[in-house]
Amino acid sequence: MSRRTLVTVFDHEDDILGATRAIREAGFRIADVYAPYAVHGLDKAMGLQPSKLPWVCFVLGLVGAALKVWFEFWTTAQDWPINVGGKPWNSLPAFVPVTFEVMVLFAGVSTVFAFFLVSRLWPGKRAVLADPHVTDDRFILIIDQSDAAFDPVKVERLLEPYHVVRVEEREESGEGGAG
């Protein structure tokens, strides 16, 4: 499926924030926004739903902690009981530090992998950039043109106050592409 997009390039953080908000509030569909660094408030300007990653982090943290407690119980109390200072084999306080570490490790690493998965990133993937400058000093807003409501004149007027550096129409096929 091919789609037509309008690629608009900006020079400043404030401009991309303002332009994104104006375009979304006017009812146009934003394909995506690119920036060389994390711009605070951009998610709100784009109207993105809150991320679901914290839930992945929370659940997998619990899974990691549970697995670790079970494993320590199995090694110290079941499979090869060891007497340490006359303490009971199944001594929970001794398990806490390692359980904590494993929980953090599980939660952290699995959140990163979950993020890679949903953003379809993997080692060796070829970078598809809307413009090489998004990794350096430019901010790019891509507006979906396939929308029936798209009106180039209105878009141009909306973007006027935000110092657009360059505007370019693109047509792509398949998924991926600039979007």
Partner: protein, 389 residues
Amino acid sequence: MTIPEFQPPAPILRLVKVLAGLGAATLAAGLFLAPERAWMNLLLAAFYLIGLCLAGVLFIAIQYVSGAGWYVAFRRVPEAMAGALPVAALPVLLVLVASASIYPWAHAGGEHGGAAFWFKDVWLSPLFFVVRALIYLVVWIAFATAILRTSRSQDSDGDLSHTRRNVRLSAAFLVVFGITFWLASYDWLMSLEPEWYSTVFGVYQFSGVILSGLAMITILAVWLYRLGPLRGFLTAEHLHDLGKLLFAFSTFWMYIWFCQFMLIWYADIPEETSHFITRLAGFWQPVFWLNILLNWAVPFLVLLHIPAKRSPGMLLKISWVILVGRWVDLYLMIAPPFVGENPVFGVWEVGIAAGAAGLFFLAVFRTLRHAPVVPVGDPYLEESLSYHN
């Protein structure tokens, strides 16, 4: 920019005065009817209050030293707590006067199970104890007064030199506080059980102080917002950051608590484990678990969620839970040597805690009226009003 003046609503002011009077009456009656309980609760209230006020200075000092700007919009709140320090020193002075009846090493006349160590005998001699305590109090009040005065003189001229001066004062305070507060917590709390020792005790007390202080800052800031003076200044971003700090220090408290517990449990040396054995026996055990529930489990689980950190109502609830938790924490530390095998809770606990609350809020309301509710001259104010997370 016009800053509305703070005026506590009349019913609240009346309530606070009644609470303070009630506390004084309870303490006076307690000295005759149940002296042990009265002294125990006086010590608890004194340490609770001095900790809250110190947390005010500590919070400001940390922000100055780290060059932070986000907190400026509500800085007068921790400043009001810091300004209440001389008032909070009054119950501590009462504790000093009564130290002979409070501390076992003072009234046992050197027969507290025999001198374990010559240094302890020197350190815990009544005169040295009182002199040390007076030094801590004077140093803390001097720093708090100097930092407050500098901050207030910035209101009129907005000069950056005041900020620089407070950065220097704050850095010095943090070092001095680290040493004096650590010693004060040994002197005033740990010496209740003179045979027992824990090296991490000072850090443990610090974690409780900063946690309860953050909770009180949050409560006062939200109140000032609801009453009007901070409207237009306090934003959801400030609440979000306060929520993050509450979350972080609640977990820090748990971390330090467990550091102390686990090493003692693991080493299993009788003179160290005695502390926890008393507190895990009988009806002390529910209090032991309640402490962890209020100070960590509840704040941790609730504040994990971003909307909870940005909601004034939820933050107020969690802050109150933490403040009750701080009371339980101190109660669990102080009460067992006084009351023995089972916890007691009655009119002396409620009355003196209410009195402490009354005294604290009276002092805070008074200092809040000494200066504009927003530090209008601070160069960082603009940043504080416009930043976002």
